[in-house]
């Protein structure tokens, strides 16, 4: 990683050496404003092209432009919970390469026409990314993406909020300190040609450690260290054929997967040891080694087709098929003193060996068309299906070491089946009532069926339980545009179901969404967004009542074209209500789950250009975001910030940034934190 960091830093320097330093930096080609696009010659701004023509870069030499940001970050002493800070923010101290972004354009088109390199947040930051793209017209288009994301999650309240109100449980069970690294390579050959082959490779790997639980037959659970390592590789290749009236994409791919999780115990006194006697004996965990060896592979096929056999008709279809398989090798060896509740047996050791295979053939497809029977009418019809069958089969061999040096062995089959068949048919009719107003209406019918293993405690344990899906949905909407000044869009869905898969699935629901954008003045743009979802399942024994609403407004103010001041402000108010009944053990008393979340959230960011000096303009940005919620988990989260960019010379800026993170929870005070973060550095541009 450090080598890559050095490489990224040195690349623009190499580029800078190659091109003689210009005496006057030409301005980049200005992006024309919409109103300028149709302006006659007299009204056009000073032609940047003339400045480009005066570029001192020798013709034929690669042209490099870009910027590098680097600096040092300090983090104040985190007040409150450092674990919560790391779970939510996780920014650390030290030297950082916060941004690297440069483009090389080769007028001679030797190896490439254009090369883009970007890298952000290097230097042990929690979110490190890199991107490289190179393209040569009509020959190739190459893209590479890399991400290295930290996933730290160690929240006392998550494990068991009420076990110890001072700080959750002793060891936070189900905690993680992981890194996920993802790489994507994609190479398109002959881009823009009527036939374009492509190849791609992706890798997703996670590794790290955490705390999990070792669970024994419902009599006890022990927090134990956990090593995690998994990796998925995806290979794919295909060809796109693009003709005037027909297109087809054929892709074939494959995946490999491995998961080598290991759980162990090296504590002589595990915090999960049972302190109250069970059947007259203390239960404790001595040694433990639990290892998962999962190896998987799979293939998939993808076919996409579009055609417009007539000028008034577009047809499309896709067929997707995949079949991932996993082979399972599981090994567990533990010693101590344990109880087997089902056999009322006490034992001192256990060895488990399991092998299994799981397969999941999965077919999906869709077919549809758009016809334009009249000038102002479009009809869009589509069918889609998604069919998935998963089956697992294997065997678990267990051997228990009893106190009297005897042993007990048993073999249990592992077998499961899951079936999911989903189908959807939808028709939309869109009518352009006027050039500004479009109305649409439609109907969607969703149906399907599914099967899964019946729960152990259900009357048909060992068999399968079935579910069905039947849903009729009415669709309506309208769009109104008044040039580029005003636009309004509203959508509505109303559904009625008589069968559904789960208690909280969409059943009888109404969903509406409205958006409006208004360019009040040339300098002020306003937008508003409203959405609502009301879902009810009145079926006997369910009585689910769900309602969520979101209202947002935003404004962008750019007086004088944003030369001096730019202000962006957003505010959102959301409410969520969910009520459903359940029976709580052990006496199966009826209880209700009431979930409420009422939150206000907002963001303001103002950019100011300070008075210029020596032809250079320093800039300052002030703002931040906040979120305050009440309800089932009252939370507040503040993130104010201030940034300063001070030009030192033509291509060199001094940057400074301050951020504050303040997080608090009314019910879990021990998870609150406060932190100030300062960063200063330099920004080089070319």
């Amino acid at each position: 990683m450090r080598a890559l960091l050095v490489l990224f830093l040195s690349l623009p320097l190499v580029g800078q050496q190659a091109a003689p330093k210009p005496e006057a930096q030409p301005a980049p080609a200005a992006q024309p404003k919409p109103e300028e696009k149709a302006a006659p010659a007299e009204a056009k701004p000073a032609a940047p092209s003339e400045q480009q023509a005066a570029s001192p870069v020798p013709a034929g030499e690669p042209v490099i432009s870009g910027s590098v940001d680097f600096g040092y970050r300090w983090v104040s002493n985190v007040g409150g919970s450092l674990d919560a800070y790391r779970s939510i923010v996780n920014l650390g101290e030290g030297p950082k390469l916060t941004g690297l972004d440069f483009t090389v354009q080769d007028p001679k088109h030797r190896l490439f026409d254009r090369l883009d390199v970007r890298g952000y947040n290097w230097g042990d930051d929690p979110y490190t990314t890199a991107h490289i793209s190179a393209r040569k017209r009509s020959l190739y288009d190459f893209n590479f993406d890399y991400r290295n994301l930290a996933y730290f999650n160690y929240l006392p309240s998550f494990a068991d909020p009420l076990l110890d109100t001072s700080k959750g449980i002793f060891l936070n069970e189900r905690s993680y300190d992981l890194r996920r690294k993802m790489s994507d390579f994609e190479l398109d050959l002959l881009p823009g040609n009527w036939i374009t082959p492509y190849l791609a490779y992706s890798r997703d790997a996670g590794s790290g450690h955490g705390v999990t639980t070792f669970v024994l037959d419902a009599t006890n659970e022990y927090p134990v260290p956990d090593l995690l390592r998994d990796e998925t590789n995806t290979y794919r290749g295909g060809v796109r054929v693009e003709l005037r009236r027909f297109h087809a994409t054929l892709e074939e791919g494959g995946t490999t997967f491995k998961d080598d999780q290991q759980v162990y115990n090296n504590l002589t006194q595990n915090y999960g040891n049972r302190t109250t006697p069970y059947a007259g004996q203390q239960l404790y965990l001595g040694s433990l080694l639990q290892a998962y060896g999962i190896r998987g592979d799979g293939t998939y096929s993808k076919v996409l087709v579009t055609a417009n056999p007539f000028a008034w008709m577009d047809v499309y279809g896709q067929f997707l098929y995949s079949q991932p398989n996993n082979d399972v090798h599981y090994n567990q060896y533990n010693t101590g003193n344990f109880a087997l509740l089902s056999s009322l047996l006490l034992y001192n050791g256990q060895q488990d060996l399991a092998t299994a295979t799981a397969k999941m053939p999965h077919t999906a497809g869709s077919l549809g068309f758009e016809v334009r029977p009249l000038r102002r009418v479009r009809v869009i019809e589509s069918w889609s299906t998604d069919r998935l069958h998963s089956a697992g089969i294997g065997q678990l061999a267990e051997q228990f070491l009893l106190p009297n040096s005897a042993s007990l062995s048993q073999v249990a089959p592992l077998s499961s089946r899951l079936v999911m068949n989903y189908n959807q048919q939808q028709v939309d009719v869109l009518v352009d009532v006027t050039s500004r107003l479009t109305l649409r209406g439609g109907h969607r019918y969703v149906w399907g069926d599914g099967q899964d293993l019946a729960p152990v405690l259900s009357p048909n344990a060992g068999g399968l339980e079935s579910g069905e899906l039947r849903r009729q949905v009415g669709l309506a909407g309208a769009s109104f545009h008044s040039g580029q000044k005003f636009s309004f869009n509203v959508d509505f869905e109303g559904a009625s179901s008589d069968r559904d898969y789960f208690r909280i699935s969409l059943y009888d629901y109404q969903r509406a969404r409205a958006r409006a954008r208004y360019q009040a003045f040339g300098t002020l743009a306003l937008s508003a967004d409203f959405s609502i979802l009301n879902n009810q399942n009145p079926s006997q024994g369910i009585h689910y009542d769900f309602l969520s609403r979101q209202n947002s407004v935003s404004a962008l103010w750019t007086p004088a074209g944003g030369k001096r001041v730019t202000v962006l402000a957003e505010y959102s108010r959301s409410t969520l209500r969910s009520d459903i009944n359940y029976l709580a053990g052990p006496y199966f008393a009826t209880e209700s789950s009431f979930y409420r979340d009422n939150s206000h959230a907002g963001t303001v960011l103002a950019d100011f250009a300070l008075p210029a000096y020596a032809g250079m303009i320093p800039k300052i940005s002030l703002g931040g975001s906040y979120m305050v919620s009440s309800g089932s988990r009252p939370t507040s989260y503040y993130q104010p910030l201030a940034k300063l960019a001070l030009p030192l010379c033509k291509n060199l800026f001094w940057t400074a940034e301050w951020r504050y993170y303040g997080f608090g929870e009314a019910y879990y005070l021990y998870e609150g934190f406060r932190a100030h973060i300062f960063m200063t550095g330099l920004r080089l541009t070319k």
């Binding site: 995949s322 599981y330 999911m420 208690r503």
Partner: protein
């Protein structure tokens, strides 16, 4: 004329009649669409080798003659800044490629014949796709981009149905690092957030995917060109939810599956845009997430009202804090390789 777009090709009355009669024959048309597509392939190959069809017609003598093509160099005389920038734009290929039918007429391939505009210099005499109704703007783009992979999802996309045109996201003239569309994660997010304000605000909550930090962008999960999964979700490995691209360890297949993961996806339990609850859960504590389905209720009869997973894998005394976080023991909640109750 609203439909179809090219102003140089008025629709004959006979063709209009044929369209109306075609509506009645719609089902039959769909059934044989594949055959037509095959025929179209053959025809397309033949057409691809033909010279451009959009060549300007012979100019009629009347004063109100239709506008004709004048060539991009005429446009350059007034719009030199746009013309210069456009030369480094991917769309410049329209100007130079004979196969596309607009050789030397790249500007007019979208803006229409420009002779009248060239004479009057009036914006009223030229077509500006950005100011057209969205459906017409799209048809302008689809003249070239109709038969491409992006078009597969377009017809099912809510963007297309909500009259969000291609130019709402794509800047056609622009040259520079972002080219025709935002490529960097922060720029992509800014673009999407300009309409999807409510979704973007969710990312200000403490537990969320790392979009504000620039580690991800909206298009990592959503395909803006559309798809047949709800929410225009991306795919992984052909036809699986895009979530598994980064969360490969949750993909399976497992010996014992947790049905909601397969039936309704990760959003059954998680709020992917952000939540005030740890791990982006949909409820404040784990037990409520589980109990809303595993309600301990007896199974109802088959048919209407039957739902899956009502009976839990075990009965516990929920008064005890020990049993209030189900995933402490049922830890393999995304699916287990060896245990039916997801204990290991």
């Amino acid at each position: 004329m609203l439909w179809p777009l090219p102003a140089t090709k008025p629709v004959p009355a006979a063709l209009r009649k044929r369209r109306r009669s075609a509506v009645a024959l719609l089902p039959a048309v769909v059934l044989v669409a594949a055959l037509f597509s095959s025929a179209a392939l053959y025809g397309a190959q033949a057409q691809a080798s033909k010279p451009a069809e959009a060549k300007p017609a012979e100019a009629p003598p009347a004063e109100n003659k239709p506008a004709t093509y004048v060539g991009s160099e005429t446009c350059q005389a007034c719009h030199e800044d746009i013309f210069k920038a456009f030369q480094k734009n991917p769309h410049w290929v329209v100007q130079t490629d004979k196969r596309r039918g607009f050789e030397n007429n790249a500007c007019e391939s979208c803006h229409g014949p420009g002779s009248k505009h060239a004479e009057s210099a009036s914006a009223a005499d030229i077509r500006n796709p950005e100011k057209l109704p969205p459906a017409q703007t799209d048809r302008t783009c689809l003249k070239c981009h109709l038969n491409q992979p992006t078009h597969v999802g377009r017809l099912q996309s809510s963007h297309a149905k909500n009259q969000v045109s291609c130019t709402a996201c794509h800047a056609i003239h622009r040259n520079g690092p972002n080219g025709l569309v935002a490529r960097k994660a922060p720029a992509i997010n800014e673009l999407c957030a300009s309409c999807h304000t409510s979704q973007w605000v969710r990312f200000q909550l403490p537990y969320k995917h790392r979009l504000p930090e620039g580690a991800m962008s909206c298009v990592d999960c959503h395909n803006p060109h559309g798809g047949f999964r709800p929410g225009q979700m991306q795919y992984f490995a052909g036809n699986e939810p895009g979530c598994f691209k980064c969360h490969g360890d949750k993909r399976g297949p497992f010996t014992y599956e947790h049905a909601p993961v397969r039936f309704e996806g990760c959003m059954t339990c998680h709020e992917p845009h952000g939540s005030a609850n740890p791990r982006m859960l949909a409820r404040q504590e784990v037990r409520y997430v589980c109990l809303e389905c595993h309600a301990n209720l007896p199974l109802s009869t088959a048919g209407a009202g039957t739902v899956l997973g009502v009976v839990p894998p075990a009965f516990h005394d929920l008064r005890s804090p020990r049993f209030r976080n189900c995933t402490i023991c049922h830890q393999k909640v995304h699916g287990s390789y060896v245990d039916r109750m997801f204990l290991k």
